[in-house]
Symmetry: C2
Subunit: 280 residues, 2 copies
């Protein structure tokens, strides 16, 4: 068993924050996990259920003496909490997050020398359409990848620390520039999510009875939390819009092939999609 | 146990044809299932594996003495086989199919009095991205719906027979007009499939490492057989093109909301999609 980190603070204890705590407990002995949580009933439940060792509504109290602070709030709140945690935590404390967008967060923090010296932005590519700490599981990150997006100003030793920390959850780590991350995620996550919602919206009262398993697979993620996805869209507007435009072009290609009876091209189009899917 | 049908012929024994045989065997005693299959090795395997009781490459031999003929070939071959089976089977024999499109098939058969008198077009809304008789399962249709699309000329007693037959597979039955069926299926199945392929096509070498479970769900059906989906597209071109145009409009709405920072509308758009998904 590892001994570092001996104390971690989790700011915002939902599905991801609670799963970070559960997954790391498997590998680190006697770790104290403190949660920073606003709602008093939720604080009690999180400690009673054993997810947290203690809980507070005060960021400064939570971050005092922490070896690692994980900011696991919705993406539009992350940059503020990172800067608060940087001020309230010891100098050697690693600050990291779980946000699905990165450029906006890294940019918002970059001129704060204290935060930039301790913060390594992270995106564990794992999740569920379910939300809330009660759905947290210790295996959520096993075999998944956590993308780290340090800025040019992030000290190398903190990048190292962040790699060690995220590997303790069971995930592999990978480095990308924040802007690269956001473009890639628009293509493989954000736009697929919006496409799933658009597909769900084609259904009405008359057709609901005739839905098969394919539709259910495709639209599963459309049941995700709209507030969370709005926050992601706001943080990654331009990359998402670019990739949505590519998606529309691709669908319009397909329409053209249908209208023009260009069956050879349509078969190729379907075949290429199958090859990509089969290779994953 | 039922005693009807005592003999069924299955023309084209893939995933669906073989699953029809397996599912009905659970409820009908001493039923003989004959398969009409071109490939001699496949004929042997299907009989050896117990899916079929006998096999032939001759449609007329397969249909002689049959109580029910199920045409389970790709959709673009169905109408021809239905007409052949109508000529080769006894007068009281029900002919049905498993095609995912209906208007083209019903139209192609409507002026053939013999076929129209015995054929009840059917679409069991069940399947898998896997193909082939080796993936057939006896529970494939359990709890699913089979849509029957008789024409105005189909005799009522044959519609009744088709309801009885398809309920023996474990599915419920539901009646729609062929054109209604095709429009509904374009919305809930064909266009979702094409959208899934379009989403898969957004991924390239650089982004493949960062794919999460959402992408995998959304693109699962894109691994389906391109030849089968091309045949569906050819049979249902205009309804699919209409619904693809609706999908593009919806995605373009979403782009406009992103560009114009219309976050309230975007939240509503996401919320409506979630509500539809949650209600299924």
């Amino acid at each position: 068993m590892q001994v570092w980190p001996s104390r971690i603070a989790i700011v915002g204890v939902g599905l991801l924050g609670a799963s970070v705590a559960k997954s790391i407990r498997r590998r680190v002995a006697d770790m104290h996990v403190v949660g920073v949580v606003r709602n008093p009933e939720k604080r009690h439940w999180l400690v009673d259920s054993g997810i947290l060792d203690s809980a507070t509504d005060s960021l400064s109290e939570g971050c005092r003496d922490a070896d690692v602070v994980v900011v696991a709030t919705p993406v539009d709140r992350i940059a503020d909490f990172v800067q608060g945690a940087a001020a309230d935590s010891p100098p050697e404390c690693l600050i990291t997050d779980v946000g699905s967008t990165k450029q906006g967060i890294v940019d918002a923090v970059i001129n704060n020398a204290l935060a930039t010296g301790k913060f390594v932005a992270a995106h564990p590519v794992a999740g569920s359409e379910k939300t809330g700490a009660d759905h947290a599981i210790e295996t959520l990150f096993d075999g998944k990848v956590t993308i780290l997006t340090p800025s040019e100003k992030t000290p190398a030793e903190f990048v190292k620390k962040a790699e060690t920390f995220w590997q303790l959850t069971g995930s592999r780590t990978s480095l990308l520039r924040p802007d690269e991350h956001d473009l890639v995620m628009a293509a493989v996550s954000h736009v697929p999510h919006l496409a799933s919602s658009a597909v769900a919206r084609l259904v009405n009262q008359d057709s609901a009875d005739f839905i098969g398993s394919g539709w259910c697979d495709i639209t599963r993620v459309a049941a995700g939390d709209p507030g969370m996805w709005l926050a992601i869209c706001k943080e990654n507007r331009s990359a998402i819009e670019q990739q949505l435009a590519k998606l529309v072009d691709s669908i319009n290609d397909c329409r053209r092939m249908l209208i023009e009876n260009d069956d050879a091209a349509l078969l190729r189009w379907l075949d290429e999609a199958k090859t990509i899917r089969d290779n994953i």
